[in-house]
């Protein structure tokens, strides 16, 4: 009986030690996550709060401090009054340039990617593997290699310094990515499904519309998110191939933060940065799951 009592005491003590150890490990895990997430949230919070503070107050208390003032003026100023490169009509124009560029470029490159992926996985022809391999190389090409050829080519076809030129650039740049995404997705659709349709007399397009597209929504969402965020955030081509009022929002953001020779208007600049970052942020918050999937797929390449 003494043994039994001793036994339960030892068990109780062990259980207590185990639960304390568990508690400590929980505190460590959540503590670390909390600390690191502060580093992640603070920059976003700073820029959001500063867009609602007065510039005088930012100057007095620094960028990182709790707000003492509140006003909404910075947003309309950033949108339509702010001076960038001698033009004083805000980021609106550049924002719309980006919209005009990203929407068609995303739609076209995704559509082409779907059709190419369908052909390269389900309508293989002699040499199609080599073709796929060559298209894959486009994924790795650094933008710097293509700068001069693009500038020359767009000049030849009369699209220099235009949003249409950037649309073309992004469609062709994106082709290798979108084709890769769709091809890898379609490879896992069983061929038997198509064989049955073909026996019933379905042709190339009929199979595409009736079988392939209904199975595609997940990969379409991933590709659209990937292309949208990538094209929206692109800077190199936007600044090299276009100038002044035809540049996308990323180029405008750099221009306005570099023009800070006089007093920096952090309030208006914060609002401008947020306007420029908002579309991809919204895409991320609403399509996070698909964004991560695109990221990991893009990485495996």
């Amino acid at each position: 009986m003494a043994d039994a009592v001793m036994g339960t005491v030892v068990e109780d003590r062990e259980a207590a030690v185990a639960s304390r150890r568990r508690l400590i490990s929980r505190i460590v895990v959540y503590g670390l996550l909390g600390l690191i997430s502060i580093v992640y949230i603070v920059p976003l919070l700073v820029v959001i709060l500063n867009s609602f503070r007065t510039n005088a107050e930012i100057g007095a208390n620094g960028l990182i401090s709790l707000p003492n003032s509140f006003r909404l003026d910075a947003w309309p100023q950033a949108w339509s009054d702010f001076c960038i490169g001698g033009q004083c009509d805000g980021v609106a124009r550049y924002f719309w340039n980006s919209v005009m560029m990203v929407v068609p470029a995303t739609i076209i490159s995704t559509t082409l990617g779907a059709i190419n992926g369908y052909i390269l996985s389900k309508w293989k022809f002699p040499g199609s593997e080599i073709v796929f391999g060559c298209m894959l190389l486009g994924v790795f090409m650094p933008g710097q290699i293509a700068l001069l050829p693009w500038a020359f080519l767009l000049g030849q076809i009369g699209l220099s310094n235009s949003v249409y030129g950037l649309i073309l650039v992004h469609c062709i740049q994106g082709l290798s990515f979108t084709t890769l995404f769709f091809r890898n997705y379609y490879v896992s659709i069983p061929d038997d499904l198509l064989k049955a349709a073909r026996i019933d007399g379905a042709g190339f397009w009929r199979i595409f519309w009736k079988i392939i597209i209904p199975l595609s929504p997940p990969i379409i969402i991933v590709t659209v998110i990937w292309q949208f965020t990538g094209i929206w955030n692109e800077y190199l081509f936007g600044v090299v191939l276009n100038s002044g009022a035809n540049q996308p929002i990323t180029a405008a953001l750099v221009a306005l933060s570099m023009s800070g020779t006089t007093v920096r208007t952090y309030d208006v600049m914060s609002a401008a940065v947020l306007i420029g970052a908002l579309p991809p942020l919204l895409v991320y918050f609403f399509g996070g799951k698909y964004f991560v999937r695109g990221l990991t797929q893009g990485a495996i390449k």
Partner: protein
């Protein structure tokens, strides 16, 4: 499969149908071919030419490469790339792995935490770089904050200090992409067979030992994949350097990618800019060619074993 469609009949209509896919994909193939081979070939030719302000086609051999490699600015650029790659890649990976292991501890609201660590990836380096540039500004950012809290000697003026400006780019780069390595590592940790982990725990292995001896070795290939992708980011680093320091102070944060831009479009030295662009491509090839060969080799081995 296209062959079966042909054998169904040989009328003109059938023949057209057989060629449909090839007709449809032909423009894409042509565009990709031009983009990859003609563009790269053209830039390579320009790098061998006497182009200055405008492209010209007088051949002058490898002179542009010689003057590139004797240019002090270029040596700053590739030294920066090596230094940046070393710290950016290793710290991003270590930090990403730490985050992945923390999130792997059956925590509450997992997707909430992941959302926080991944959002910088959705935003451009131009936007995040701009904001971080403000935070590095000694008269209003982090230094200002710490000084006003009472530690008046505190100095954190990275972007205005020649020697340390590259650390501003390294820190912001890590902040921007540690979440990416977290995502890949987490996917790897989740793919480890739970039976192996259970077996290790039954054998009495501690938490730390289970990770070190059982879990991490099985996700070895993921370490390599993350390293390769991060190295690729490092070689292409452009936006971040422009938004944070604009290659300065002086030329202290010049990178190969910013060098290309600078020589092609600011200094009117297209030939040398093209040579630098070819070196960026070469750096990528040095990383990616062995890696792709390794992947092919591994796939073959798996195929012959399975």
């Amino acid at each position: 499969m296209a062959g079966q469609a042909v054998s169904a009949g040989t009328s003109t209509w059938d023949r057209i149908k057989k060629w449909t896919p090839i007709f449809i994909i032909a423009p894409s193939i042509l565009a990709s071919f031009i983009y990859v081979f003609v563009f790269a070939g053209w830039t390579f030719y320009i790098s061998l030419s006497d182009s200055t302000l405008l492209p010209s086609y007088g051949f002058k051999g490898f002179e542009n490469y010689v003057s590139l490699w004797t240019n002090r600015r270029w040596s700053v650029a590739y030294n920066n790339l090596l230094f940046f790659s070393l710290f950016y890649v290793t710290i991003s990976m270590a930090f990403g792995l730490l985050l992945a292991i923390l999130i792997d501890q059956k925590i509450r609201a997992e997707s909430f935490w992941r959302t926080i660590f991944l959002y910088p990836l959705a935003v451009s380096f131009i936007a995040t770089g701009t904001v971080w540039q403000w935070l590095y500004n000694p008269s209003s950012g982090i230094q200002f904050l710490v000084n006003s809290l009472g530690w008046t000697d505190f100095q954190f003026a990275l972007t205005t200090d020649r020697k340390n400006a590259i650390w501003a780019i390294i820190i912001t780069g890590i902040w921007g992409s540690a979440g990416f390595s977290m995502a890949l590592f987490l996917a790897g940790l989740r793919s480890v067979d739970p039976d192996i982990i259970k077996a290790a725990q039954i054998d009495g292995a501690s938490w730390f030992r289970t990770y070190r001896k059982v879990i991490l070795p099985t996700i070895g290939p993921i370490f390599l994949a993350v390293a390769v992708v991060l190295l690729q980011f490092a070689i292409k680093t452009f936006d971040l350097a422009v938004a944070l320091t604009n290659s300065g102070p002086g030329i202290s944060t010049t990178f190969p990618a910013t060098y290309v831009y600078d020589f092609m479009f600011q200094r009117g030295e297209i030939g040398q800019g093209a040579a630098a662009a070819m070196m960026v491509l070469a750096a990528l090839a040095i990383v990616l060619v062995p890696y792709s060969l390794y992947l092919v080799w591994r796939r073959r081995r798996e195929a012959s074993n399975g």
